[in-house]
């Protein structure tokens, strides 16, 4: 029907590799040797499409049919109606395989972005380029020049396309110009940002290895000239969907640009002067003009062919193609043989982009079309046909003038180039939206919306243009109404007795043409979704067969399988026993480490932590909890005092970034006068937990000087040397065992890890993963973010007494609010199985044993569970209403998802070594 990206009918699937790209406009896809294009959206062959049966049912398939018909019974929608309708209505298909194509996305920057390279765009680009501005010229087509490539008119005494090619050569020679063809500017956004899709490889038989098929650009422009031209609009008359009914402009394109005859006997139907050009082009190509039908009584047409003024087309004969055209002239109707019908209902300025920031266009009576109004997109000026200027000379002038306006605003001095000689004739039009006749007259060719559908919409009181759109689906297909919007709302205006400008348009939204999700998500396919953050022990860990799990962006080992172990639990249980009985090694580098220095470092920590750090002695470590402003627990961890004005805070792995951001906020906004400085040192140090009764023995085989209980008491820290490298040692424990964390500069991380593993192996120890780490901490009742999940307070986890009464801290006041303390709170408890069923799951709910497992009876929930090989029992941590006062009670754990019901005894969350002797000794 058309010759551009707005083509509604010629949609194909392009098959390449294991990729199917649906809804490719055949009018836009360049043909190459290995192109595999398949017609889409038919059931059976295209000639004998089963879906055409719907045609016979058309009296019943009016707009709103689905809404009215498939309402009942309710359960049928999902199982029967929707799949069948989808089969019929879907646009194209997908391969259902992984995408084998590459896509890029990129940024570009310029002073002036020129959108469109017709006469207006070329003049704009020349004006800006000659002024020295950095220019990007985007053209959707594979050839610059716009309509000049399709028409036979002259500019400056040369064929238009030659003039365009010369100007492009001139621009190409300039360093400050970037020419981007096959690039559709798809959206206008805030701050002078434009989205654009470049078709890089779709036109190639062999896309070079590594190159993308498309690049999605984000172009940041200080100013822009929008010269996107205009789109010729159809006229709705019966059977106007037959193959062979085409836009007059498209007929000229195929003849002039491609050397293809759309028909041998071509009839022309129009309501404006531009259609007349078609006659001249047909004649010079030696094709027959079957008839010229102009709806205007006073049309200025003369020539050696049949002319019908004041006449319209009342229908078309032929199923697979036009055979003859039914003409209505006054009261008589007759057929004229023709195999192609060129239609022109006038031109709609391509104003879509100008409306992307919610601007509304204005109706212009003179050209019977909507035009943009100034200032719809800040910094963007509309030139040429996109602004309603339709003569070639007018476009040339407008392009130069609009570029100058943009350059003036940017403070770039410019001179408009001389306007070359070109056609300056008026564009006369008399609006004609529909032509009368029997049968269905199509408005939206993609979503099959007829005049009747729009009228029905008005009749059923869907009178607003936005309601009509949704009722009929007009304008909701891939062409987004480019061919149908104005005609449809003209019909609606008529049906509702309003003017077109009163009726208004629907909202234009990006993208202008479809953009593949793959292009917008370029680089993010597969593992490109997020960067991988690898610890220094990663390679060694993976080489030992450990399955890795993600912790934020980090990768950590789940467990270290040994020969003969067939289930993760076997590995996990062994690793737990190993730590409890000898020594285990675990990479803890992923925990956030924030270096805090300055005279006010202690005071600053007092302010962010609930407990006091200013009193901590150098060489000591303390556990701390910090709250959010709203009084809920934000994070926990240990902080070591390395010197009088020097601390190192550790955060949990997942919250490292959030805590850093929080500290920045507190310092910059709340206590800007505090003389404190902090920076992340997470990546500087490779840090390993060495846990178990033999941990000190192991360390003493590696450290340059041995340590003992005096030099490194529980919660002590200090510098150590290992292999001559200066490191840090902290005697802290997340397992409840006698344990340390040793840190060295990251370059030595892998080497130290391997030494630790060798040393541990000699003592009957080895590495342990996240599963064992989790069991070890649950046995000890240590919390993680499973417990401090954002909705718990220090009171809930039994740490409210840690909130120092002697000082203020973030969240202190808010934590004391009514409702955040007392018996009504869900409090941290331990749970042990108390009946025959031993199974427990995290995320299960707690109930009184006799109560039904319903929402109303809910008493709490579980957060962490494990099997403890040490205690030979499943264990759980969870929150129970007034739980601390209920130790010894039996509650019912119900996991509705897995259908597990377990009676549990409520107990203290510390299951193992509640006195903490193991870590201290």
């Amino acid at each position: 029907m058309t010759d551009g990206s707005h083509e509604p009918n010629g949609l194909v699937e392009v098959h390449a590799g294991n990729q199917i790209t649906p809804n490719v406009r055949a009018t836009q896809q360049e043909i190459h040797d290995s192109l595999s294009a398949v017609s889409q959206n038919h059931w059976g062959s295209l000639k004998w499409d089963v879906l055409e049966l719907n045609d016979l049912l058309s009296p019943f398939l009016s707009a709103g049919f689905y809404y009215k018909t498939f309402m009942w019974p309710k359960s049928f929608w999902e199982k029967i109606y929707e799949p069948v309708i989808r089969r019929a209505a879907g646009l194209g298909s997908l391969s259902m395989k992984n995408n084998s194509d590459r896509y890029d996305k990129a940024y570009a920057f310029c002073d002036v972005l020129v959108i469109g390279s017709g006469p207006a765009g070329l003049m704009a680009a020349l004006t800006a380029a000659k002024a020295g501005a950095k220019v990007i010229l985007c053209e959707e087509d594979f050839r610059f020049g716009g309509r000049l490539n399709s028409e036979t008119e002259e500019i400056g005494g040369k064929p238009g396309h030659i003039w365009a090619a010369e100007k492009i050569a001139e621009l190409r020679a300039m360093d400050n110009v970037r020419l981007m063809k096959r690039t559709t500017v798809t959206g206008a956004y805030d701050g002078g940002t434009y989205g654009a899709l470049e078709r890089v490889g779709h036109h190639l038989a062999d896309v070079p290895d590594g190159a993308p098929v498309e690049t999605f650009w984000r172009i940041v422009a200080r100013g822009a000239v929008y010269a996107a031209g205009a789109i010729e609009r159809p006229i709705a008359f019966p059977s106007n969907d037959r193959p062979g009914v085409m836009m007059a402009s498209a007929v000229r394109s195929y003849i002039n640009r491609y050397g293809v005859a759309p028909g041998q006997k071509v009839a022309i139907f129009g309501n404006n002067d531009s259609a007349l050009r078609t006659v001249l082009d047909l004649q010079s190509a030696g094709l027959e003009v079957a008839a010229y039908i102009d709806s205007r009584e006073d049309a200025q047409i003369e020539g050696d062919f049949r002319i019908y003024k004041g006449a319209t087309v009342a229908g078309v004969k032929g199923r697979m193609g036009v055979e003859s055209v039914r003409i209505r002239d006054g009261n008589s109707e007759f057929f004229v043989d023709a195999d192609c019908l060129a239609v022109s209902g006038g031109w709609n300025p391509t104003l879509h982009l100008t409306c992307h920031m919610n601007g509304r266009p204005q109706w212009n009576e003179a050209i019977a079309a909507f035009v943009p109004v100034p200032g719809m997109i800040p910094g963007l000026e509309v030139a040429g046909a996109a602004g309603g200027t339709f003569s070639t000379k007018g476009c040339l002038k407008s392009g130069a003038f609009r570029a100058k306006t943009v350059l003036d605003a940017l403070g770039i001095e410019s001179r408009a180039p001389r306007t070359p000689q070109a056609d300056d004739s008026d564009y006369a039009i008399s609006p004609l939206w529909t032509a009368p006749g029997k049968g269905r007259a199509w408005l939206d060719f993609q979503n099959d919306v007829t005049i009747k559908d729009v009228k029905l919409s008005a009749q059923e009181n869907f009178r607003s243009v936005e309601h009509m759109k949704r009722y009929t689906t007009q304008g909701m297909a891939p062409d987004q109404g480019k061919n149908s919007n104005v005609n449809a709302l003209a019909v609606l205006a008529d049906a509702t007795g309003r003017s077109i400008s009163e009726t208004g348009t629907t909202t234009f939204r990006p993208p202008y043409t479809p953009v593949s999700i793959a292009a917008m998500g370029a680089f993010a396919q597969g593992s490109g979704f997020a960067p991988q953050r690898y610890t220094t022990s990663h390679d060694t860990t993976v080489s030992r067969g450990a399955p890795m799990i993600e912790a934020g962006l980090w990768y950590r080992p789940s467990y270290f399988p040994q020969e003969g172990e067939t289930h993760w639990r076997q590995s996990c249980d062994r690793e737990v026993e190993m730590v409890r009985n000898s020594v285990g090694i675990s990479d803890v580098s992923t925990l956030g480490k924030i270096d805090i220095q300055g005279p006010d470092a202690g005071a600053f920590l007092d302010f962010v932590y609930i407990n006091t750090f200013s009193t901590l002695k150098p060489g000591k470590v303390r556990y701390g909890v910090m709250l959010r402003e709203d009084g809920h627990v934000m994070d926990d961890g240990t902080t070591a005092r390395l010197g009088a004005e020097h601390f190192v805070m550790t955060t949990t792995t997942a919250a490292a970034g959030a805590v850093m951001r929080h500290l920045e906020f507190v310092h910059q906004c709340l206590v800007p006068d505090m003389d404190v400085r902090f920076i992340s040192v997470t990546e500087q140090w490779a840090q390993f937990a060495v846990a178990g009764p033999k941990s000190r023995d192991l360390l003493n085989t590696l450290l340059d000087a041995p340590i003992d209980a005096e030099s490194f008491p529980f919660m002590g820290c200090g510098e150590v040397n290992v292999g001559g490298v200066s490191g840090r040692l902290f005697r802290i424990s997340f397992s409840g065992e006698h344990a340390y964390e040793i840190a060295v500069p990251a370059r030595y991380g892998e080497s130290l890890f391997e030494h630790l593993l060798d040393g541990a192996a000699a003592l009957g120890g080895g590495p342990y993963g996240m599963e064992a780490l989790n069991v070890l901490r649950i046995e000890k009742g240590f919390i993680t973010h499973a417990e401090i999940h954002g909705r718990v307070t220090a009171f809930d986890i039994g740490m409210e007494r840690m909130i120092s009464a002697k000082k203020d801290c973030i969240g202190k006041t808010a934590a004391a609010r009514p409702g955040l303390l007392g018996e009504a709170r869900d409090q941290l408890v331990g749970l042990k199985p108390a009946g025959a069923v031993k199974e427990m799951h995290a995320g299960a709910f707690l109930f009184d044993p006799e109560a039904g497992a319903t929402r109303e009876n809910q008493q709490g929930y579980t957060t962490s569970t494990c099997y403890s090989p040490t205690l030979e029992s499943t264990l759980a941590l969870g929150f129970l209403r007034n739980g601390r006062a209920r130790h010894g009670e039996v509650v019912k754990l119900v996991d509705h998802l897995r259908e597990v019901e377990t009676l549990c005894e409520v107990c203290d969350p510390v299951f193992l070594d509640p006195e903490g002797g193991k870590a201290r000794d």
């Binding site: 940024y107 590594g210 500087q684």
Partner: protein, 179 residues
Amino acid sequence: MIELSAKTPCAGLLPLETGGMSLRELEAVPITSIMPLNGKHGAVSTALEKAVGAALPDIGRSLAGKSTEVLWTGQNQFFLIGATAPDLPAGVTDQSDAWTRVALDGGRGAQVLARLCPVDCGALEVGDVIRSQIGHMSAIIICREAGFELMVFRAFASTLVHELELVMNSIAAQDEIRD
């Protein structure tokens, strides 16, 4: 005494070269973060200039000394590259092992970064420093005579190399597409 062997972040990953672009890992040198304490900006700047020949640069800039350099790296934050810091009235930390540092040379760096970084790197001048992102990674980007120096956290080394390689290959491959 055991012996610890050192490994650079990009060991086994670099160098690589394609389409007139090259990517190589920069030599491991001392990196020290310097954050002057309240009212000590001038004192730190003077002391640094005396010790290493480079003062604290302006925002978004770097200053070179004798085989050393001081980069602006954020709000009241500077990195001393190539030397250890003297005693300064500032928060000072060792960052030598915390960063992956690579050089993207060959005059097409801006083209590469246009695909990974939202800042107009082609508009930077030699010695300019920006804090931005490469892909999804927070980065320090320094404009050099020969191209760009890129710094991301050490643990991102393989992703950094992978993403740069992908883009360098894409640009080189697009050279083969004619019109």
